[in-house]
């Protein structure tokens, strides 16, 4: 029973974080949500008896993909609608 509830929570958390990753306006939080998806995925891979894949997902999905996204966000913009950012950019060009 407790096993069932734990796994159900993992599934729900995964769906919730993917929804969050898609609708969140702050891209940094959205990227963190994709990191959480990868973390849950790697737990699920362990439960599905795939330790190799779990190790890969933990290293690539959680660490590397997230950090590359974060660096890209630092290089570009943090907000999805970027209305204030755009103002600044236009005034800088003029």
């Amino acid at each position: 029973m407790i096993y069932f509830i734990l796994i159900a929570i993992l599934f729900l958390l995964m769906i919730a974080s993917s929804v969050y990753a898609v609708i969140q306006k702050d891209l940094l939080y959205a990227v963190m949500a994709t990191g959480i998806i990868s973390l849950i995925l790697s737990i699920l891979y362990f439960l599905l008896q795939a330790p190799d894949v779990a190790l890969t997902e933990a290293a690539i999905g959680v660490a590397l993909t997230t950090i590359i996204f974060v660096i890209t966000i630092r290089n570009t913009v943090r907000m999805e609608d970027e209305s204030d950012k755009k103002e600044k950019f236009k005034s800088a060009v003029k």
């Binding site: 190799d52 190790l55 890969t56 690539i60 660490a63 590397l64 590359i68």
Partner: protein, 238 residues
């Protein structure tokens, strides 16, 4: 309007995908009656003649080793494309544009952790044929070690030349071992070394060699990816 169309499309796609996979079924043998799946052959041949403990490793490196050669090529190309897309002329190359101000706890902690991480990575790819893990996982772990150093120290830099030398040599080792097998046994990537005793470090023939080469290659490539992106200056309008 566009959203509705997309939702309709996705609902159709989702319905058919879900129905398909429920048809396949979960957790029980799903192969059609009368076929003998290749996985049985893989599992049998993994024990002998290959004497590899980790069946995933034997598939990735030996049975489907050609895929893995393609896969490291994809990473190699990704680094090349990344460099080409973000290329700047010599006079434009400046200091690192992105750094995260790190406290002294982080810097000294990183210094302590870095050798341990590299050691862990090496352990993972050397034992790829015995335990979970292998070249890809070990390589990624090594790359995260370099990532930690790059984040902790503003001035930490990795020699671009060294990276590309390691990458090239590892790639040549992989393809070269394959060609040696071709000369020795008549087929590309054929095993030409004694296979040893199962669950020993020296077992599995050429599999550990290839996985070590993959580990070096993936480590160098991913470090290159992080390094290139970190040195990208975003604010200019060119």
């Amino acid at each position: 309007m566009k959203k509705l169309l997309v939702i309709f499309l996705l609902a159709t796609l989702g319905y058919y995908t879900a129905v398909t996979f429920f048809d396949i079924g979960f957790g029980q043998p799903h192969f059609v009656k009368g076929v003998s799946p290749v996985k049985d052959i893989y599992l049998a041949k993994t024990q002998s003649p290959l004497t590899v403990s980790n069946a995933v490793t034997s598939i990735v490196v030996n049975f489907r080793g050609f895929d893995t050669l393609g896969e490291v090529t994809v990473l190699f190309l990704a680094v090349t494309v990344l460099g080409s897309v973000l290329y700047k002329n010599r006079h434009e190359v400046g200091k690192r544009s992105v750094f995260f101000s790190a406290s002294s706890i982080v810097t000294s902690g990183s210094k302590l952790l870095f050798p341990a991480i590299i050691l862990l990575g090496a352990y993972v790819f050397i034992h790829g044929h015995l335990s979970p893990g292998g070249g890809f996982q070990g390589g990624v772990i090594i790359a995260t070690g370099f990532l930690l150093m790059l984040l902790a120290y503003e001035n930490y830099s990795v020699s671009h030349t060294a990276l590309s030398v390691v990458e090239s040599l590892a790639g040549i080792t992989f393809a070269g071992v394959g060609l040696l097998g071709f000369m020795h046994g008549g087929t590309f990537l054929q095993n030409f070394l004694p296979t040893g005793v199962m669950n020993n470090l020296f077992s599995g023939g050429i599999i550990p060699i290839i996985y070590i080469a993959v580990g070096f290659k993936v480590g160098a490539e991913l470090t290159g990816v992080i390094y290139t992106v970190l040195h990208e200056k975003g604010e200019s309008n060119g």
